[in-house]
């Protein structure tokens, strides 16, 4: 006997595109959360530990990449989504750039035995702390996507997420200030340091700054979901 099952509903209802985005963000988040430990190991000049942490970051980044790839494959043009398809894809792209950035930083620290100049340690810590804060905010923002769908991207939930978006933007602004400060400090001591290291420190600081830029871009994508 042939099993009969032709439910048009089963085919009509596709899996929510917001769940994989959240899953991806959680992976990206775990990836970023390894940054403080990475720098701590660097401060302690434990190169072995740095390499090990970089390895973990690499694994998480690959995992995030996998989720992103699957997501893109499962996003046919024929889907009726409550938000613009392009915005969804840009959101996951920005999330992915965060993990890429973290991996880049970890690779720089693995490829060169970097010594942290005492003068920038304080600024670097502030920078990392600010990055953790903004990524946590961004993750919380993404975690609201389910609820946003449920209420049709409007009302209280809309206002709540709007406030979260504002929060991310403020944090990004603060981080920019810290960034300037650290760069300035680095400039004042750059003559005392090995020129190639200075160049790499500028790059590392820039990469850390990029993470919050991507978080802000995420907030901007979410803002597009909210706009009618």
């Amino acid at each position: 006997m042939v099993a009969m099952s032709t439910n048009p509903l089963a085919g009509l209802l596709r899996k929510s595109p917001f769940k994989p985005i959240q899953e991806h963000m959680r992976t990206v988040f775990s990836c970023v959360m390894l940054l403080p430990a990475l720098f701590d190991a660097l401060y302690r000049k434990e190169q072995g530990e740095v390499t090990e942490l970089a390895g973990q970051i690499g694994v998480l980044e690959t995992e995030a990449d996998g989720i992103k790839a699957t997501y893109r494959h499962n996003m046919p043009k024929t889907l009726l989504l409550p938000v613009d398809r392009k915005d969804l894809l840009s959101l996951i792209h920005e999330q992915d750039s965060v993990a890429d950035g973290v991996e880049k930083i970890s690779q720089l620290l693995v490829n060169r035995d970097m010594t942290v100049p005492d003068a920038i340690k304080g600024g670097l810590d502030e920078l990392l702390e600010g990055t953790m804060e903004i990524i946590t905010q961004a993750k919380n923002m993404v975690e609201e996507l389910d609820e946003l769908v449920h209420v049709g991207f409007s009302g209280r939930e809309h206002d709540k997420v709007s406030r979260m978006i504002d929060g991310v933007r403020k944090s990004e602004h603060n981080l920019d200030k810290i960034l300037k400060k650290v760069n300035r400090t680095l400039f004042t001591i750059e003559k005392e340091l090995d020129p190639v290291s200075v160049m790499f420190w500028y790059r590392i600081i820039e990469e850390i700054g990029n993470i919050s830029d991507h978080a802000e871009n995420m907030a901007d994508r979410l803002l597009l979901f909210l706009s009618k």
Partner: protein, 421 residues
């Protein structure tokens, strides 16, 4: 006339067998699809769904199924030209039943979302064209039915859309969604009982010889609404806040209120299906029996014997029990995206639309109205993603089903005509 006198018993037996085959298919697939929504949302188990279907499918067929049967039997084809040879109509009805049932089987096994309604309408047209002549087809009526395939899902979609907006306004977008869910749930359940019973009662239960006036119908509908809502309150009182689940999803507790509410829409869905789709199987069956028992009267307006509705109901239940439960299991696991609140809105909208359509006598498709209703929820930006290709498939299946049913009915008609001579 001699043919009917000679083979009357065989004809009735064949009609009952084909009718059972057709209704078996309806129960195995169509009804299972309609009930799958509730199973998927976790509101009822498969066993409960079968129980609900047995009771409410019968109720729907007996209480509200009369009008559609009339349309199927008399509205689509005009038998005036074959009054002298009533056996032609008997062959035709038998052929139509068999063609629709076979087409339903083929399409189901291939995974095409065809409608039982479309199959039988197509088959009737097919027979009429070759058996009586193209003029015998009431093309205006056919046009109306075709239009209803667009209009009825649109109505279902609109009602679902409005229901979703109302749940948002009253429940989800408030300070305390759980408290409001519990507060407004009885009103929604009242709506389920009220609308379904009002639409059923409004034109009276003429074929059961129960005549109710407008105000009487209203009063009874309110009573039934109040009854369902008080039963609902009993269930909803037991819903507790689940802070553990709320950590993952803010509205998890609220959805728990909608779960028992879906129990009522599941009942109304089965009722609506019974009122509309059972007629697809038993309309032609009733026609055959009316012709044979009257000794060849084609045009007489006979009463629909209630036992025919029971034959239809039995076929459906057997279909549900033998195969439908499996369909419900697969459907249930596939449509988890339909949360209880979304499912509630979609089912209430669909059931209301189907019963409304059955009262006007239009044989609409339950499944496609349900699809329309789900689209309505989606358009309210309440569903993560809908696959529009599936809509295209459905439209293709609508278009294909009419000629497919028609061609098969032609073949079976000539076969039966040859056999009976």
């Amino acid at each position: 006339m001699e043919v009917i006198a000679a083979y009357g018993t065989i004809m009735i037996t064949l009609a009952v067998i084909f009718g059972l085959y057709m209704t078996w298919g309806i129960g195995a697939n169509d009804l299972a699809n309609a009930m799958g929504t509730s199973v998927g949302a976790g509101a009822v188990t498969v066993k409960q769904a079968i129980g609900i279907a047995i009771v409410f499918e019968f109720a729907g067929a007996v209480l509200a199924g009369g009008n559609v049967t009339k349309t199927i039997r008399k509205g689509i084809i005009d038998p005036t030209n074959i009054i002298a040879t009533p056996e032609i109509l008997v062959y035709g009805m038998l052929a139509a039943l068999l063609a629709a049932a076979v087409w339903l089987m083929i399409a189901s096994s291939k995974g095409w979302p065809v409608s039982t309604t479309h199959s039988i309408v197509g088959a009737l047209i097919g027979f009429a064209v070759v058996g009586i002549g193209p003029d015998a087809v009431n093309w205006g009526k056919v046009g109306k039915i075709v239009a209803s395939w667009v209009i009825s899902p649109a109505i279902g979609g609109t009602i679902a859309f409005l229901l979703v907006l109302s749940t948002r306004k009253l429940i989800f977008d408030t300070e305390n969604p759980l408290r409001n869910a519990k507060k407004y749930a009885p009103y929604y359940i009242f709506l389920v009982g009220f609308i379904i019973s009002l639409v059923t009662l409004f034109k009276g239960l003429a074929h059961l010889h129960i005549e109710l006036t407008g105000p009487q119908s209203f009063g009874l509908a309110i009573c039934i609404g109040l009854l369902t809502s008080s039963i609902g309150m009993f269930f909803i009182r037991k819903v507790k806040e689940d802070t553990e689940a709320d950590r993952d999803f803010h509205f998890a507790s609220v959805e728990k209120v909608f779960t028992p509410m879906m129990l009522f829409t599941a009942c109304s869905m089965a009722f609506a299906h019974g009122s509309n789709d059972v007629a697809n199987g038993i309309g032609p069956l009733a026609a055959v029996i009316s012709i044979v028992t009257s000794g060849g009267e084609v045009m007489q307006s006979s009463e629909m014997p209630v036992w025919i509705l029971f034959v239809g109901g039995t076929g459906i239940v057997v279909g549900l029990v033998t195969l439908g439960y499996r369909v419900m299991l697969t459907v249930g696991t596939k449509i988890t995206e339909l949360t209880p609140s979304r499912g509630f809105c979609a089912e209430l909208a669909a059931a209301s639309t189907v019963v409304l359509a059955s009262r006007t006598g239009l044989p609409v498709s339950t499944t496609h109205i349900l699809v329309g209703a789900v689209l309505g929820v989606g358009l309210a930006r309440g569903i993560g993603a809908l696959d529009l290709r599936v809509i295209l498939n459905i439209i293709v299946s609508w278009i294909v089903t009419l000629p497919a049913g028609a061609i098969m009915a032609m073949v079976f008609f000539f076969f039966l005509k040859g056999v009976f001579g």
